[in-house]
């Protein structure tokens, strides 16, 4: 998937994992992949309903601000009467589709299944199983196939759950991890050693934050150490500079010197004095970097944090940020995204930004603005940033410091 990063306009598509294809080239690509999906329909399946590729293509052409909705609704009406054998092409069409088209396809699938169930017509279980086992397909669509299979043959389908332990679908993987956690809890009654081993297996597989936190709690209770920073891929060593002003929240838009001229040995004119870059690291297990530590609990201020990430190869990753202050993020000098919201909450992976890392050093610059609010819940001036793939698996830099060096 192509994620444009060059301009302010293209930046608008950044906070979703699937961009909306609006170009003719992208539409043609969708159509081509859809026709390929038909060509790949397993032998022995009933032929999908006629006109299906065209209707899918119409749906895939939906775009921003309601573009194509009218045509998609007409195509949907036809799709909703399609044969159950059409489910496989529809599921395969999910992967190359944009986020809105995916939902049109999902809804069509649900209507076809509902009609078939009402009429007592069988769903193509084997085709659904083959689709589920194809890890190149959309994780969300594979999960949908799994859920459909549960309605047909629950016992056999549930028996597949352990095989999802390394699945690219987080939802499928989550079920496998849940089963391991149940086992680990039972083992705790008899043997800490056996339970620890099982919890370790769960940790290796877990990608959802709540499951990882549950495992970390169990590790702590057993007196075992766990390197959550590494597991998540949090960036823990930064250089920071500030404070600059943020009077009346104007600092968010103002281009301070580090944005215009990033030099780690520079001296800048700050809010009240000359300021220079200084190192700041964190030992927080969830990678929270607290700017109140070097600067004190200031208000109406701005600071910058800088990190160099050495990537062993060119690769697509996600920068995942948690922050309750206004922020802007640049990768290799290009603005990825920015958000001027203050103190409405923070969590791990609050913002997921797909980017491409170049091989070698990548500069990550983060601007962090603190506002004027005085309430005790507005004291925080902090962030947590990690690098991972689209499943949440940590992507570690080749220059990542050893665990203890950040403490």
């Amino acid at each position: 998937m192509d994620y444009p990063l060059k301009t302010e306009a293209s930046m608008q598509l950044m906070l979703v994992t699937i961009s909306i294809p609006v170009s003719i080239t992208q539409m043609r690509k969708c159509l081509l992949i859809t026709f390929c999906a038909f060509a790949l329909t397993p032998a022995g399946q009933a032929e999908p309903s006629p006109g299906l590729p065209e209707q899918i293509a119409i749906i895939q052409a939906v775009g921003t601000e309601g573009m194509g909705n009218k045509e998609a609704a007409a195509a949907f009406q036809k799709l909703s009467h399609a044969e159950p054998s059409s489910l496989l092409p529809l599921l395969k069409a999910v992967e190359p589709s944009n986020a809105i088209a995916r939902n049109w396809l999902r809804s069509a699938i649900e209507v076809i299944v509902e009609r078939a169930t009402t009429e007592g017509r069988p769903l193509p279980l084997d085709a659904l199983r083959d689709f589920l086992n194809d890890r190149e397909q959309s994780p969300e669509a594979r999960r949908l196939a799994f859920e459909l299979m549960l309605t047909i043959d629950r016992d056999t389908t549930e028996g597949m759950i352990p095989s999802f332990i390394d699945d690219p679908s987080n939802e499928l993987r989550r079920d496998a991890v849940s089963q391991i956690l149940v086992r680990a809890k039972k083992q705790l009654a008899d043997s800490d050693e056996a339970a620890a081993q099982t919890y370790r297996q769960a940790l290796d597989a877990a990608r959802d934050v709540d499951q990882i936190q549950e495992i970390a709690k169990a590790f702590t209770e057993m007196g075992l150490e766990i390197d959550l920073q590494k597991h998540f891929g949090f960036l823990t060593n930064w250089k920071v500079v500030g404070p600059f002003h943020n009077l009346e929240r104007a600092g968010f838009a103002e281009r301070f010197a580090p944005e215009a001229n990033l030099k780690l040995d520079a001296t800048y004119t700050g809010k009240e004095s000359e300021v220079t870059w200084q190192p700041l690291s964190t030992s927080d297990p969830y990678g929270k970097v607290d700017l109140n530590k070097p600067y004190g609990k200031l208000k109406e201020v701005t600071a910058y944090a800088y990190h160099e990430f050495d990537s062993g190869k060119t690769q697509e990753v996600e920068l995942r940020l948690g922050c309750k202050n206004a922020w802007k993020l640049w990768l290799n000098g290009e603005l990825v995204f920015g958000r001027d919201e203050y103190h409405r909450g923070q969590r791990i992976d609050q913002y997921k930004m797909p980017v491409t890392l170049q091989k070698g050093l990548n500069s990550i610059l983060l601007k962090l603005c603190q506002n004027e609010q005085k309430q005790d819940w507005t004291v925080q001036w902090e962030f947590q940033l990690r690098v991972c793939d689209s499943t949440g698996t940590a992507v570690l830099a080749t220059n990542r410091p050893a665990p203890n060096s950040s403490k």
Binding site: G66, Q77, G345
Partner: protein
């Protein structure tokens, strides 16, 4: 003269339209968005097991009100560890059986405060289609059989339009336009959407500040207009164009919404304030203000000439709609997140956050709680009334209360 005829016709049509809708519950806080629905005089005044017609389990969290059209009851929900699976559920009004459900993958952010949830806005309907908005800014229209009509991902279109605490404003329909407030600290806007295609009919910038209130319909010069409330005040707009008609700039609450009856708008502002649109534009005409009376999370209810609202201490106040003068007050068992509702049976219906249903008889000199029923689940939703029945939902359950049929 022509203007007079047009205005009179508009009023008649509006009254007819609303009279027709009064047997059903089409949106947040009922047909006029003020918590009151005419008719329904046989609605039970005793909540309990004997009057529980049915309960239905819900597969996901939600606090948006139930919408009732004919023999169908609709609610939205969201499931999954991050509530990113969005649901529309349709139940049979007869027995609570699930008729169909539709699922959508959220395209916007689903982060919200743990008290609220992604399915916080109440859906709305024009009787033909159901329009559902989630806190992720996904906006969907389906027909009453669950066929998708259109979908918008408003965070895809406007990527900084979100609130990390969650959004809750419920969209409404006015003048063939779906009006939604997507207001927050960053990319804050209100928009009118074409009912048939979902494309923008208009989109206007709104104050950059968090806001959980819902748009309200009211009358102005015999026409239906929409009042958009925010921390800055209230702006009256034309629903079909989004053009500003008047502006109340004295500030307003960002959680409880206002309520209108005819051309009178009750605003949670500096206590509580009543205004009437100024036909010349600009600031509306101030009718009265009561600084000491302050609605908390729940929005006020207007029933004929009386306003009812609860404060943060759970005190229910009844006040004269025309003067703001307090008529009586009683202490209820709060706190309340959901707003009270009423019909033409002389009783008000409340559910507090602990799930305690309370029915208040208002036919005497002072309100009296005549029935309590503990649902045993957290209730943050506003109830709905239709066809002599009361509906309320939690994260897990949908209840229907009505008199037992002989």
């Amino acid at each position: 003269m022509n203007t007079l005829i047009t205005s009179t016709t508009t009023v008649i049509l509006w009254i007819l339209a609303n009279a027709g809708a009064s047997a059903e519950w089409h949106r947040f806080r009922g047909p006029e968005g003020n918590g009151y629905v005419p008719g329904n005089s046989e609605l039970v005044t005793e909540l309990g097991k004997p009057t529980t017609a049915w309960t239905a389990p819900l597969p996901g969290r939600g606090l948006g009100s139930a919408i009732i059209i004919g023999d169908k009851v609709f609610v939205s929900a969201a499931s999954g560890p991050e509530q990113n699976k969005l649901l529309i559920l349709c139940f049979s009004d007869r027995d609570g059986s699930e008729l169909w459900r539709r699922s959508f993958w959220a395209t916007g952010r689903t982060m919200c405060h743990k008290k609220t949830c992604v399915a916080a806005p109440a859906p709305t309907t024009d009787g033909k289609y159901l329009y559902v908005l989630w806190s992720s800014n996904d906006l969907v229209a389906v027909d009453l059989e669950g066929n998708l009509k259109w979908m918008r991902g408003l965070t895809l279109d406007y990527p900084n339009a979100s609130n990390s605490l969650g959004m809750s404003s419920s969209p409404i329909i006015a003048d063939n336009t779906l009006v939604a407030q997507v207001e927050n600290d960053s990319e804050s806007f209100a928009a009118g959407f074409d009912l048939q295609t979902g494309v923008n009919r208009w989109k206007i910038d709104r104050p950059k500040m968090a806001n959980w209130t819902s748009p309200v319909t009211m009358q102005m010069d015999g026409k239906v207009i929409v009042a958009l409330q925010s921390g800055k005040g209230v702006m009256g707009i034309s629903p079909s164009t989004g053009s500003k008609l008047w502006n109340f700039s004295n500030g307003a609450a960002t959680i409880p919404s206002g309520a209108a009856a005819g051309d009178t708008l009750i605003i949670p502002s500096r206590g509580i304030t009543a205004v009437k649109p100024n036909p010349l534009g600009g600031e509306p005409v101030s009718l009265w203000n009561q600084k000491t009376q302050k609605p908390a999370t729940a929005s006020p209810l207007i029933m004929e000439d009386v306003i009812y609202f609860t404060n943060s201490a759970g005190v229910l106040t009844a006040a004269d709609r025309n003067t703001g003068k307090r008529l009586w007050r009683i202490r209820m068992k709060g706190p309340f997140s959901g707003s009270p509702v009423a019909c033409q049976n002389g009783h008000l219906y409340f559910f507090n956050e602990d799930g305690l249903g309370q029915v208040v008889n208002i036919t005497g000199d002072i309100g009296e709680v005549v029935s309590e029923f503990d649902l045993g689940e957290t209730i943050l939703a506003t109830p709905s009334i239709s066809q002599n029945s009361l509906y309320i939902r939690s994260d897990q359950t949908l209840w229907k209360f009505s008199a037992k049929k002989e």
